[in-house]
Symmetry: C3
Subunit: 675 residues, 3 copies
Amino acid sequence: MINEKLPKIWYGGDYNPEQWDKEVMNEDMRMFKLAGIDVATVNVFSWARQQKNEDTYDFSWLDEIIDKLYENGTYVCLATSTGAHPAWMAHKYPDVLRVDFHGRKRKFGGRHNSCPNSPTYRKYSTLLADKLAERYKDHPAILIWHVSNEYGGYCYCDQCEDGFRKWLQERYTTLETLNKVWNTSFWGHTFYEWEEIVSPNALSEEWGVDNTNFQGISLDYRRFMSDSMLECYKLEYNAIKKHTPDLPITTNLMGLYKELDYFKWAKYLDVISWDNYPSLDTPISLTAMTHDLMRGLKQGQPFMLMEQTPSQQNWQPYNSLKRPGVMKLWSYQAVARGADTVMFFQLRRSVGACEKYHGAVIEHVGHEHTRVFRECAELGTELHKLSDKLLDTRVEAKVAIVFDWENRWAVELSSGPTVALKYVDEVHKYYDALFQQNIQVDMIGVDAELSGYDIVIAPVLYMIKQGYAKRVEDFVHAGGTFLTTFFSGIVNENDIVTLGGYPGELRKLLGIWAEEIDALFPDKRNQIVMSEQWGELEGEYQCGVLCDIIHSEGAEIKAVYGSDFYTGMPALTVNTFGSGQAWYVATSPEPSFLQGLLRQLCQDKGIIAPIAAVPGVELSIRSKNMENYLFLLNHNEHEATVEIGNLRTSNLITDQKIENTVTLPAKGVVIMKKH
Amino acid sequence: MINEKLPKIWYGGDYNPEQWDKEVMNEDMRMFKLAGIDVATVNVFSWARQQKNEDTYDFSWLDEIIDKLYENGTYVCLATSTGAHPAWMAHKYPDVLRVDFHGRKRKFGGRHNSCPNSPTYRKYSTLLADKLAERYKDHPAILIWHVSNEYGGYCYCDQCEDGFRKWLQERYTTLETLNKVWNTSFWGHTFYEWEEIVSPNALSEEWGVDNTNFQGISLDYRRFMSDSMLECYKLEYNAIKKHTPDLPITTNLMGLYKELDYFKWAKYLDVISWDNYPSLDTPISLTAMTHDLMRGLKQGQPFMLMEQTPSQQNWQPYNSLKRPGVMKLWSYQAVARGADTVMFFQLRRSVGACEKYHGAVIEHVGHEHTRVFRECAELGTELHKLSDKLLDTRVEAKVAIVFDWENRWAVELSSGPTVALKYVDEVHKYYDALFQQNIQVDMIGVDAELSGYDIVIAPVLYMIKQGYAKRVEDFVHAGGTFLTTFFSGIVNENDIVTLGGYPGELRKLLGIWAEEIDALFPDKRNQIVMSEQWGELEGEYQCGVLCDIIHSEGAEIKAVYGSDFYTGMPALTVNTFGSGQAWYVATSPEPSFLQGLLRQLCQDKGIIAPIAAVPGVELSIRSKNMENYLFLLNHNEHEATVEIGNLRTSNLITDQKIENTVTLPAKGVVIMKKH
Amino acid sequence: MINEKLPKIWYGGDYNPEQWDKEVMNEDMRMFKLAGIDVATVNVFSWARQQKNEDTYDFSWLDEIIDKLYENGTYVCLATSTGAHPAWMAHKYPDVLRVDFHGRKRKFGGRHNSCPNSPTYRKYSTLLADKLAERYKDHPAILIWHVSNEYGGYCYCDQCEDGFRKWLQERYTTLETLNKVWNTSFWGHTFYEWEEIVSPNALSEEWGVDNTNFQGISLDYRRFMSDSMLECYKLEYNAIKKHTPDLPITTNLMGLYKELDYFKWAKYLDVISWDNYPSLDTPISLTAMTHDLMRGLKQGQPFMLMEQTPSQQNWQPYNSLKRPGVMKLWSYQAVARGADTVMFFQLRRSVGACEKYHGAVIEHVGHEHTRVFRECAELGTELHKLSDKLLDTRVEAKVAIVFDWENRWAVELSSGPTVALKYVDEVHKYYDALFQQNIQVDMIGVDAELSGYDIVIAPVLYMIKQGYAKRVEDFVHAGGTFLTTFFSGIVNENDIVTLGGYPGELRKLLGIWAEEIDALFPDKRNQIVMSEQWGELEGEYQCGVLCDIIHSEGAEIKAVYGSDFYTGMPALTVNTFGSGQAWYVATSPEPSFLQGLLRQLCQDKGIIAPIAAVPGVELSIRSKNMENYLFLLNHNEHEATVEIGNLRTSNLITDQKIENTVTLPAKGVVIMKKH
């Protein structure tokens, strides 16, 4: 349990009473009660308020807020406010300001605006966290600490450049090693002094988005930036922990956000929390995958849904309303996939600046007689009713999909073979194929233990880190099923090619050699032609993006290409290795192929959907102590009926009895307990 | 009359004999006479020529030009040349150079290149205006002063930043007020010292086009920049006025140009002048609306068409020729809508640099035997024949459309609900619906007196300035018809939301509450379904962009939405308020709906088209002393016949008799007098 | 012959053993032999390796490489490594770093990164060339010198700005002349001191791509930059020539690369070499035209194909493989059009940084059992067999197409009449029409002697340099056929319009006057309607982009426009001038029109295709001493049969006998000797 003080699914969100007068806050207290809100995230952006200059701190207003909330039955998720530095600090200590990708020194403005290697920022952010922790360490309202906010963005200032050199020295010790792992003999880039190294941006090695002359340098700068921000986080973390060793600490992550290596960060978060902002056209399964990824960051430990909007966003091009029922549906989706909180940005809408058209529980009209408030209040009641039943339950999966930020960086920094290759898209194709057939999946990093899984899928595993090939071999040897794809096994963790034939360190395991990699123009397709019917798979499927031209070196050829000069060459192979199987999908197939393929692999391993899939109805199961909670989520615009076998149970939300079939209204949710 | 020295529609344009030798100028004099040209705008870009360094002025060449023109019967519109500073000034006093949106200090180049807060620029531009006025104050050739040229663009240098702080201090007095109106408690932006404030650009609060973190800051910077340039204009204005109190002074505006608040500027112009550059695909009604807007800047006072091209432009992507007849047609369109001059850029084409492919009365071939010259000469003859008949006539309208630059800025700076909302487009939709049915319209600012109108239309009146709601209420109470739309009444002039339910201060008047605002994806439409047939309106119409979800609080529901979860909720309402009516159009409808709606509103007020509309034939009427001048402009590629009732008159251009019907050739124009 | 030491078509390419250990190099030697490789370009990017600081040079590793290659039968094309400066130099002497178009000082990174006016760069690059030449002057391996690499890009730093002023002083002597040729009286740009002049970039006169306020300034800056880099080249050239007067020197050009005036450069190259990187969708005839242009740079002298990829590129969006046979086909295309070498980038793929997915003879797998290697080895064998037969043969043409970089710059810098006009596209339209009917063409500059040609075609000859009109008149007068198009004869070499009517200096020759130039929107077309059938031409053809509206002043009207207000006005004219004809094509026609037109012009001059054209089969002929070598290149995906008349010969590649017809497999090549 995140904090036993509040043994239920937390319900609340970001709250900024410092933008309002006291009368409004009183009204908020009344409405929070109506909505069943029991946790408020406060102090997210108030650094300037609590520290008006270098020496003066004022927490009295915050005391009042926290006391008032607590008196009214609302707990506090206490933020440290370091997500945006004060204007006076930018003015007095310009080292807190970032230099952007184009080499421009920024002025004061925006948020997430501090240089992560700024001595001033590090000093004062740590000090603030320290002061806050000291002051509130014994306050009964505090449930959890929320360090900074949505860390992100990169800086390219001189102090970062200098920090980069130090980071490199620690990592590589000598320039000789550095020159080697960056392959600086290419284009005569040899460095003879550490000072000669500059940060890679639009003034040196990079241009546009993800274009670089030196993949090794750019990759290391991403690592360094992720580490630099993590260091800022850790400084605050440690300052707080010193005072409140028993309170959990988190920072809100952003799902598939590219710039930070969240698997590395997760080690230093007591609990994962994240902000979920799908658009009207975001695939349901992509949101599901992101929840699963966030859950996977700490090996399945329940996470916090820290932010979502009750209805509208403001920063998307077309900010459509969440249709009736959708807010609840998506909230339960988070819970179904491992969230133990449902929290909003924001509890009350601001009156000015850029987020005033972002949805809130309390809208500008100020009263409770709105569709949005009513839906929030209904959900508040339901979560209260669910009490602690779901807390600490786990999602159990026999299939894992590998997701690796560093691999993602490397894939998308690559110059060639194609700009069309997007790592998340390829991973999502495999996830979606399983999602559509109600197969539970764990999203895992490359540090994860594999032995608990029957099937491990690693799409576009371009970068093979030290020891990983061996670990995959062990997994397969012991009976596991491993699947990877085109453009895998190509480089080591410095983006240096493994010589001797693709897929490099995976070649033996997969029993193939990829001689060439063809990039298809966007209007071109090839075909995957099944050698013979296999399960559902027969005949021909479309494929594109990249086509590896491979030779079997022992692998069985399950399908071949259907056109072009490599017609008849393998497109899908399986290699028996020890007691297991290693599959290679040599190109990027259409969804129906992947569904057929993965259904077959699961069947071979005895993995079957607990409930037969119904289009548009999502299934997830959370379990604890032999008890299973089945979630059915109807994302359709219409009613849906699901066969659940001879199960007699009831909907935990409504207490409605259920027998054999469940009929869900459009956007409806059912949670059923099954022993 | 702009200047009684030349009591006819002025005909001429920009003329740069300083680019040529004297022989060419002699030839020009001959050709001006052939073309009936009687006014030349000179000295627009000659600062460097008349001031070769800090201390040396030379006007002898200008004396010669002005004398020569005058001797040859051509009057002078005398420009001050301050639209581009000299190279030596940029070199010696870099403070005249701007810093751009990206924070880059510019070098010498282009035009409209001076920082409006540069002490050097202000000093020397004022001094030059002063010297010119002193020198030419008694020259009989001078008809009018033309200060600088097409003011525009913004600067973000340190002196502007400093000026911004001072401007803010004057406007808000204390930082406490400033922090409040900018809502700086959002994202911890509280300012404790004025020095902490920076200008909002790509280095601080803004990015791309019209994206900002703080609408209040960005809005004020636009005001400040508009004021800064206006201050430059006023410095020159005052310097000139001192010498020639009786000569009118203007500067050429740019129609719908976004960056300057022309209603504020208009107060300091003796006569409005503007540059009209429609493209081949500009809607005719958009040009008409722009003329009407320019006329509206000074409450209907006749204006100057300062620039248009005789044929081609050079700076559009595809610079098509004006088809035969089109130059004349569009010239008369300007006159029909209130222009008392027809002037070109340019009288003679330059031989080098970027405008050499811009059309001119005298083309590179240098003689009069061109299609373009012939058409110019024909128009010259016609304007001579029209003499002073049309001068000082007024366009009379009972319908007004509100146009407000600050509202426009605020609407387009908004983060959410949609990027698809463009203020001018929404205003133009209403204008076009009236234009298509021959209803005369005044374009008015928010300072305008409303009582003279029967109908006032204020599309997307997002920002309600202090006292404006009350003035609209008074107008309606007294019997007026007011119409506004979705996304109106939302904020005050600092872009701070009016709490208590949209449309804020207009809620009582309109008798509705807008609970939510749905943004539609570009490929999505909803429908407006009429509750019952009303006038022409019946059945269903398409709508999009935004859909306000409103509740009637007393207003009559004339139409409802046709789909989505708000099917059946009001889409068009009318509220009786005192003796008048207040209409709300909750979404952005297709044209046929607006035509039906506005025809009905006009009919209810007894406003009818003086002549029944014929597709593609524009009507406008200018009146004076009980005499009306009807303009019919056939924009079609084919002949058109217009029924004019039992009117016997003649075409003032051709003296051709007209009885009952008028037949206009393709691109033809008729001007008829009617008592 | 480029160098008599290797009297055959050289075969090899870029080779970077400094990136590898010695074992790998030994393996490379073995594989080079297998592939028939006899030349390696080394030392292209090794400046940092051979000069680790200001004072220390080390060539021992290069000695080893060159010796080892020579011992193994591979000659050396020795590069000077100055295409990228060392990191230490950038660190110690920042003057070597460029300032980009946006005014940003660059840091160390990339390649082609040195300021061409940097004293440091000029000093050390010259010194390095000198040292290399001194050291290797007697080494028997060296065939040729390769200075720097792919010169390109512009710099806008202070030392370039200063250099620009000096260059201008030399060119124009006085500011008075400068002000005149730049037409600075426009927009008051008059310069009174040289110091006032700044370089034209995004901070001054230019924006986006090819947009400028002052065409004259921008044009001169392009000339200056091209000259500045040429100066760098010449410094190295002279340093080398001093030591090895008999060895040829080149630098690798980039075909249609826009920024450098290759005709001017060609004078200082002993032999032209260039890098050919067509994409999958590059028209075959565009590659052919580029080869012909490279051959034309030195009046038909055989050139070097310095780089091409054996299969894939890495820097295109979609890097498709060269299909089987295509590498050989395109290699022979180069030879067919005048290349005496076939060379690759690269012989061995690098393991890290941005070119590791660029194709190579030796792929990452490292062995010879790849499709790519096999094809390379086959070609190696064939080239060996061809021996010296083709060396020094010439392509003979009676038709020339004029190509001029300065004209290209001016056309694309023009503001108006249309952004759709692309010089290379218009030139290519004419080239393609001839290519499709097997007519050999020379691509010539404006310095070229015309008298040897029957037909000279100069599409969009916008800029007429001093004396050129007279030379064209002489050519026509003596019986030549000249053809030019719309938007020709407009300006002199300073982009100053020739007054008195377009096409200016060509007006008399062409017997027409272009009164107006209409720019068509992209979705619009006009028609060329033949006055009567003429050869293949009859009826109507589509045209677009620009339509000159012309009047005949003696020229015969062969075709007129088919629509718009200029229907019936001339679209195609021919003027008899002395014994010759001058044609004017007033618009941009569809391909079928141009094929018909050019077939007819050729026929009139007795120019006929040596072999009737077969679609997709390219023909080229190289000749020497009355011997002709006919190349047939089948670019189709299918077999093609070509009638060759009663010719008995054999395929020089295969020795297969040929009689009357040749049947080529898909992608097949035949070389036949004909006396």
